[in-house]
Symmetry: C2
Subunit: 355 residues, 2 copies
């Protein structure tokens, strides 16, 4: 592997000195980019894009060709793992993800098994290797997975949901069954992330999209406890370098202290929390990633610049901040507004890293 | 008016001694009750139910006939105010609320005016009077309104939304227009709640359903500031008694200190926050209402009882707690599970109010 030319992102995650605040954007390769839509049209559909390493490589690199970003993130879907478990992932036209065989019956839950990533998710590992090669050491590559609880939400409901009533009914009626699913998912996600790391992912992020709809008590028992086990089970070093881990629970702002106690290197923050408050609460335990409201990218250049400055000022001087959105970039975002965002960060952030 | 036989709810809101933890349930008159569905079928549709004082009275009293609740809440919709402004509220079959004329153009926004409640919302005030008469002093009646920001969300989008992209685009592009709408809404909601109080509402609750999707900074500027003005403008006493106000921002757990500083009497809490932590944070400034996960009512009796005990234990001894759900009761809730909930509260809570 070629030496890493820009390791600002990795250093910020480990709270080592940097010259400016490194930046990447959740869902940076996505529908707001015309070049992405062109590749996706060529692929036929979203899943084909995920499952064809050459195309996944192409779209992973598109935002880096356009913008001065400090990290690439593997282009994939959080539901590849349950798909590899045999649940039959598909995307209905104009709707979110669905499973052909959602987990509803006890026999199906008992039959669930963690897939061998090399066997069932080889296309993801091939994509990681191919992206690393294409990046040629320019910036680091982030691998990722959904959290065990977030995967379970889709696996049980069979699709997205307003209230995840089926999942919560299981949680409050048959917690043993939900725990069984989460056990399997935890093993699967640990193996999957370690396989991504071995294939070349230089940081690992766990997306807990739905943990935030749990009660504080249920969050600890059904989401955080399992993410903590994954963090403990992750390969900590590869290619002679620390592989930092990032935990992101959307809506988890009340629980940061407990998230930081898992031993992860960084926490992702949504836009509801003041990043300076978050920093005071977690101290020097973890780095912080976030937390620009993605819909502020629909705003005026002035609003975007103000928001960037407020976030940098709130975090304050010193390393340990990776600038990002608080959630994935909206598909209706004007691509030129991303330039306004990045210019403002590059202009203002060095002042917080001087001396 | 007849003397109030059970004022436990009002006393708890003012943190005065009580014998047990009083309880009501958000959306307690609703689709989980067969008797509600029967009345609604007779009414023809939901709006007719809201707009016919006799029927609104009937459904308001239904949960009180079935369960030992400590308060009634006016049966109405949060969108009656924008409907009275001329936006044309309707409910499409199987969907949420919609407006025929959403606020998209500057001229329409500039033409917006706060309605005179006596003139345009007389049916609500008639319902309040009729419900008070029917309650005959058994328990207090809660009046309510949506928050200015939450009303603005529906008024601008024209319906519910996943991300309120149109609202947030206005917020970040034309904050002056959004502020203008919020000004008008604030005047309208203040007048509306005061008219409800004058008609007989004995407590006033502001539902800020969508403030929680704002950034911490935008929440203060576009939602909380306007709710604070409403709280300041509310009639504080009626019939020789304090009329307590309750502020509820779903997803607002990070902002409780600022919410408590508005001068309201109580805060509603969703289920993501530990109520004991909330109590430590707000001190003796306000009472707290909540915060049982509504979907726990889909669970086993054991799960329901455990959750009740955990919440009562977390709040701890002394007054200032109104037991409630963290959000409206789910339409699929088995009505008998509400008995399990209420029995557990009545059995366990007196221990926290002894001595």
């Amino acid at each position: 592997m070629s030496a890493l030319k820009n390791d600002t992102f990795l250093r910020a995650l480990l709270r080592e000195p940097v010259d400016y605040t490194p930046t990447w954007l959740m869902r940076q390769a996505g529908r707001y980019l015309p070049e992405y839509n062109a590749t996706r049209a060529r692929a036929g559909d979203f899943l084909a894009l995920c499952k064809t390493p050459d195309l996944a490589t192409e779209v992973t690199l598109q935002p880096l060709a356009r913008y001065p970003l400090d990290a690439a993130i593997l282009f994939s879907d959080i539901l590849t793992v349950p798909d590899a478990m045999g649940l039959g992932l598909y995307f209905a036209q104009g709707e979110g993800p669905r499973f052909e065989r959602p987990l509803r019956e006890e026999w199906a839950i008992r039959a669930l098994a963690a897939p061998d990533p090399a066997d069932k998710l080889g296309y993801v590992l091939d994509a990681v290797r191919s992206i690393r090669k294409a990046l040629d050491g320019s910036v680091p590559l982030i691998g990722f997975s959904g959290s065990p609880f977030t995967l379970a939400c889709y696996m049980i409901e069979g699709s997205g949901s307003d209230d995840y009533r089926t999942v919560k009914s299981m949680l409050y009626q048959r917690p043993d069954l939900l725990h069984h699913i989460l056990e399997i998912n935890t093993r699967a996600v640990t193996d999957y992330l370690n396989a991504q790391i071995e294939a070349g992912a230089q940081a690992a992020m766990i997306f807990d999209t739905w943990g935030g709809m749990l009660s504080h008590r249920a969050y600890r028992e059904f989401s955080l406890a399992y993410m903590a086990r994954i963090v403990a089970g992750l390969k900590k070093e590869n290619e002679g370098r620390r592989v930092p881990s990032i935990l992101f629970t959307k809506g988890g702002g009340l629980w940061l202290e407990d998230m930081a106690a898992t031993g992860c290197d960084a926490l992702g923050l949504d836009w509801t929390i003041e990043i300076g408050d978050a920093r005071r609460r977690v101290g020097d335990k973890v780095a912080l990633q976030g937390n620009f409201d993605p819909l502020c990218l629909m705003g005026s250049p002035e609003a975007i610049v103000n928001e960037v400055e407020a976030i940098l000022e709130s975090y304050g001087p010193g390393s340990g901040h990776v600038f990002n959105l608080g959630h994935g970039i909206n598909q209706h975002t004007p691509p030129e507004n991303v330039n306004v965002l990045l210019d403002a960060i590059r202009k203002t952030s060095p002042g917080y890293h001087a001396g």
